[in-house]
Symmetry: C2
Subunit: 285 residues, 2 copies
């Protein structure tokens, strides 16, 4: 059957696949300085934010993404105090980072302030930590911010970006990754969203492993998680360590000690298991 | 945007979500004695089989499903010799089961012979083991087959069924599960496809845990895996042990010793990690 006009569809044309949600109302439509931002009310997924026609997040499943972009990296680090988030304008990753009581500062640098303003309005639950005294929200170019960052000043850098085309393209390149590594303290960890294991293992994920290695990261590992609203329903993040084991859990197997909905001690270890067809790209086994 | 007529879409209306594949040609359309069977050529996913409009399998991602329906159960058992598959008419699970050299007999009981005939024609790679002398293909009612099975005669029973409505409804009920347990030898294991962790944890998966427990299975655990072409892109299987630890891996962490594309020793353990929001339904922690 085909879908009528009550559905929003995001086709990923090169892969001949599409994801659709039944929508009930368009709540917002804005041409920002950088991208086309839309927000819909859906029938069963809460609200839906699009950037340039691509699903950024839904109320229903964003918890998986935000938890897996933050907690594995923060719990792999023995004492994460200073955290930088590049992108992440919806503030969901920031909220998760600030659940860690040891974090002293969490700076979010997104190029597009309009995304944060829309998130405050339509996804207020993601912005609960924006007023935390440890939070700093900057609206600026993340590539430049990292290039100008003080060396050895950060424990964890989270690159919570859009796809590696358009505004986010520079965030996947070796010069940026070198700058991230320079800004990290010894033992520091970076984590970057790295697209679909099914569609991009041999391309984006493999290339990111090479680029992180060239940029001087000692250990590079990819974790995966379900993400129903992203193309293929399965997503990845790639971690790089500056003299750090990025897969450690400190203490091992421990529960987070705060509320989560997807992440827990078991999931931490499990997420790093590389499916057989991904082993080459993931640099595992 | 909306999708034109070159896409096949499967909406899951109660969840307001749809999955679509770009199709290039309809290869087959048949009203079998039990269901509506269609096969399409797709642009990027090889062939697509539908039963009553629902995706049964695609050439591109069925390997994940078939490997995860068979190898965790067979490798949890110390010495699986006699295996029964209920459903599984596409023969992909049978092929995986027969990769285990210790298996003496693998019997597949699907009610609809037309599914197997279509698979032989359109998915010949899944039917490679159909002529194995250890394979027996029956076209009969799986519920009755299990009710009439000799007690203590099987090591592993795999219920590779369609959704728990229509022909497959009885395969989720306690009477059937009791019969499966009776047919298993001590130490035997059953595994059943159990729908989406996102959509069905509190309904189908939770109910199946209760029913398996009531039917006398000592340990009941659910594993999950990505399955891009099924609703939500994330699927589950639930295992029950008759005096057996269904999560064991014998030997622990070992590689399968034959070719797989998703499953390996790491994935075996990882698949049983219960996401935090599923812990109640999965009976874990």
């Amino acid at each position: 059957m085909s879908l009528d006009e009550h559905w929003f569809s995001e086709p990923l044309e090169p892969e001949g696949v599409a994801f659709s949600l039944r929508v009930t109302e368009k709540l917002h439509d804005e041409r920002t300085a950088y991208q086309h931002l839309e927000v819909y009310e859906t029938a069963r997924w809460g609200r839906l934010m699009l950037l340039d026609g691509c699903v950024m997040l839904t109320s229903r499943d964003n918890f998986i993404y935000h938890e897996m972009m933050s907690h594995p990296a923060l719990f792999a680090h023995p004492d994460p105090r200073d955290v930088l988030i590049i992108g992440g304008g919806d503030c969901g990753t920031l909220r998760e980072v600030l659940k860690h009581p040891g974090v002293n500062s969490a700076t979010q640098v997104d190029i597009d302030e309009a995304v944060t303003r829309a998130s405050e309005r339509f996804f207020p639950e993601l912005c609960q930590a924006n007023d935390d005294p440890r939070a700093r929200l900057l609206f600026a170019d993340g590539v430049r911010h990292v290039a100008e960052a003080r060396p050895d000043s950060l424990d964890v850098v989270i690159v919570d970006s859009t796809d590696p085309v358009g505004p986010a393209e520079g965030l996947f390149g070796e010069p940026f990754l070198r700058d991230v590594r320079r800004a990290l303290r010894p033992g520091g960890i970076m984590v970057q969203q790295s697209e679909s294991p099914l569609f991009h293992s041999e391309s984006i994920i493999g290339a990111l492993h090479t680029a992180m290695g060239n940029a001087g990261f000692d250990t590079v590992r990819t974790l995966t998680f379900p993400l129903p609203s992203y193309p293929g329903g399965w997503w990845s993040a790639t971690l790089g360590g500056k003299g750090a084991d990025v897969t450690a859990r400190r203490p091992q197997g421990a529960e987070p000690g705060f509320e989560t909905r997807y992440y827990n001690g078991e999931i931490h270890a499990a997420a790093f298991a590389a499916p057989q067809f991904c082993r080459g790209a993931f640099g595992a086994g």
